[in-house]
């Protein structure tokens, strides 16, 4: 299990086999550059393996808690990822349906009203099976909890948020 601060490292490892996206095809291009500018002005750039300032990958982040969503967005922008962040899973799904080829990975909370992370993962994999999916939760991850999910839902990883019970 990984906490939120180490997530960019985990995601980078998970995507290590993938080719870097050289073309900014998504509307979040600006977010990426804003993130880079913040890094340059506020602190030494820590992303030594991405010196050419090209985005590592395009991520879809979904969490109904706006604070968590913002923390994740900032963390990934800092690490030179392109990110699209949503607090409403329905909107996230709509966006993914229109831009599924742009994304490499979705990071989603599990317990969200409307569409749970588990259902969202299922739909994302149906639309584009190449997209990696990481689910995260503030709740204790119980072994039996996910026995009901598999094998109908393919998930590439689980993350325990650190501010849990």
């Amino acid at each position: 299990m990984q906490g939120l601060p180490s997530l960019p490292v985990v995601v980078r490892l998970l995507l290590s086999g993938k080719e870097r996206k050289d073309k900014d095809t998504h509307s979040n291009k600006n977010k990426y550059y804003e993130g880079l500018n913040r890094n340059r002005s506020n602190e030494e750039h820590s992303n030594e393996d991405n010196k050419d300032d090209k985005p590592l990958a395009n991520l879809l982040i979904v969490d109904d808690d706006p604070d968590i969503a913002q923390v994740l967005e900032q963390g990934f922008l800092k690490n030179s990822f392109l990110v699209s962040t949503f607090t409403n899973p329905e909107e996230a799904l709509k966006n993914f349906q229109s831009n599924s080829e742009d994304y490499c990975l979705m990071l989603s909370d599990i317990r969200m009203p409307g569409i749970s992370g588990i259902k969202l993962a299922r739909k994302v994999k149906e639309i584009n099976p190449k997209v990696k999916v990481i689910l995260m939760t503030s709740f204790e991850i119980k072994d039996n909890e996910f026995s009901k999910v598999f094998p109908s839902t393919q998930v590439d990883g689980f993350v325990q948020k650190t501010n849990s019970d």
Binding site: R111, K119, V149
Partner: protein, 232 residues
Amino acid sequence: MRMTSAGSHRIESVMQWFEDGMEEGENGILVYPNMQTFREIYMQYAKDQLVAREEQKENEDNNNDDYHDNNNRHKEQLLMPRIILIATFYDTVNAVKHNLSAVGVDVQSHIDDGSLLIVDAYDGYYPNINGMKMLVKSLSDRARKEGRIGVSVISNMGFFFLYDGDGDASELISYETSLPSKTDGGNVRGLSCYHTRDYENLDDSQKKELDTQGQKKSLEVTESAAYVAFDA
């Protein structure tokens, strides 16, 4: 469906509906528009039931004539408040404890004296779908033994939307319809709480089945602060 203007007293209207509109032994349905509203509901209810009673009891102990009540049953109820069960799903148990503390509820002491129970709804419904019912039954029995007036259950039903595929609400409907709208002689007031985004996943016939063809009392709190809508 009736619309009642509630203005800034929206949560108070919900409390009134739960306290006065629902009798002992009844199970009802509440649809809330967002998490903040759901939090306000359980926070206000716990505060009213636990903190306000404590203050009232203190006043009685001090022989304050304004609060004095010769009704023995009333005194007993002050000594032994209802048991409140909050089954949370979208917030963690710790988050609920934190929220309750923020409105002045001494969470740990009420947990210790058996007046308050906060559980992860997931554990109540999985792996045994009837786990929550068994828990409520045991609380109901304990309330009788301890001379409490009863048990209030505020249960978030988000669990039933965690796994089911599109349009499949059979498990939820089967569970909800197994909860009778009214149990004669019962001492439990149960509230099944649905986030509106979950509830809107159900079609009209499923919604109808959910409230046992209109037999259950149901309340829909709207996004607008101005109105509380409810079925009569």
